[in-house]
């Protein structure tokens, strides 16, 4: 397997295509398969060298106890960028992947030429985001877990989710696997593994990525937010406070546009990447 040791952790990555460098950074509890299953890697590899990797603790990467803040994962990115000999890259980050992308652009500006955010929530902007904690996808998750007698609470709490999944009986775990289906089973299986780490709490730390730092971003930022996103206040804030930020709303999606509206998401990413890599 193509792996690279960075920041004390072994990360699993894949590359396809040739051209300017593009890196795809997945969300918390996801892994790089999401990009392949959406067909985005093949679509972009026609014009770019596309690198996908599993964040620490996720997919086929190593799962250390700690190092899950956006600052630590930005360092992972920077060391991966160096180890693979990449050029200044455009980063596409979904949800927390966008937070890592922003943090990397600020801490390691020579590695990042611009970023595309997909429906990202920033812990450093929690004060302007009224919907954090009441996300629609958390409500969906809570309703599903209630079917096996587990209450996840009404506020987003990754650590609680990971621990609750780790404590499920085999019968209840199987019930949830059947509910989430074949394509969601891998996601579910990852949750109890993350219970062994500090990931749930650390991903919600500001970790130095304050509102002030974000507003000082100098590279281009493309903010793709979903039509029914819980984070439209964040989208508005970015548009107002980040100098080179442009916004596009992806219709018919509520946080997972790359899955919920793959054609529109792919089209938007391709258009914006073309501008970013000129």
């Amino acid at each position: 397997m193509p792996e690279v040791e960075v920041n004390g952790t072994r990360l699993y990555y894949q590359q396809a295509g040739a051209g300017p460098d593009v890196l795809l950074v997945h969300a918390v509890t996801s892994n790089q398969a999401v990009w392949m299953f959406a067909g985005l890697v093949d679509a972009l590899a026609q014009d770019y060298r596309v690198t996908t990797y599993d964040l620490r603790g996720h997919g086929a990467s190593e799962r250390p106890q700690s190092g899950y803040t956006s600052a630590a994962m930005a360092k992972d990115f920077a060391e991966l960028h160096s180890a693979l000999g990449l050029g200044p890259a455009a980063l596409v980050g979904h949800s927390f992947g966008g937070v890592v992308a922003m943090h990397a652009a600020l801490d390691y500006p020579q590695t990042v030429r611009g970023i595309i955010l997909s429906d990202s929530f920033f812990p450093g902007l929690k004060h302007i985001e009224p919907n954090f904690g009441k996300m629609n996808i958390w409500a969906d998750l809570r309703a599903t877990f209630q079917k096996v007698g587990v209450d996840l609470g009404d506020t987003v709490d990754f650590t609680r989710l990971f621990r609750a999944t780790a404590e499920l009986s085999p019968e209840n775990f199987k019930t949830l696997e059947d509910i989430y289906g074949a394509f969601g089973r891998g996601w579910l299986r990852q949750l109890p593994k993350l219970a062994e780490t500090n990931c749930g709490d650390e991903v919600l730390e500001v970790a130095g990525l304050t509102a002030e730092r974000i507003s000082g971003m100098t590279q281009p930022v493309i903010a793709l937010y979903d039509e029914f996103s819980p984070f439209l206040a964040t989208c508005e804030w970015l548009k107002k406070h980040v100098a080179r930020c442009s916004v596009e709303i992806i219709p018919n999606a509520k946080h997972l546009a790359l899955v919920e509206n793959t054609p529109a998401f792919t089209d938007a990413v391709r258009r914006h990447l073309k501008a970013l890599t000129l």
Partner: protein
């Protein structure tokens, strides 16, 4: 290349890729997730191993996207064999 040969190759590559797992005997009806117990990231790893085996890049993303668009809830080895027959 005929489908029996590709299915045989596929079963061998699956076994080599995940040597610590026990897999049941497979046929074209076997499903990657439900029967073999693979997860999505396993398919990324398997895709890479199949590319190494056949010595060429294969458009797995488009294949998987097509399955999703058809509403498939799993990946049958029959679908995978047909994909490989078309692309190797």
């Amino acid at each position: 290349m005929n489908s029996d040969r590709i299915l045989s190759d596929l079963a061998a590559v699956v076994g080599q890729t995940f040597p610590d797992r026990d897999f049941p005997p497979v046929d074209l009806e076997s499903r990657a997730f439900a029967d073999l117990g693979l997860a999505s990231i396993d398919l990324v790893v398997l895709a890479e191993r199949l590319e190494l085996h056949y010595g060429k890049k294969l458009p797995f993303g488009m294949f998987l996207k097509g399955l999703r668009e058809r509403g498939a809830d799993d990946v049958s080895l029959g679908d995978l064999v047909a994909f490989l027959q078309h692309n190797v």
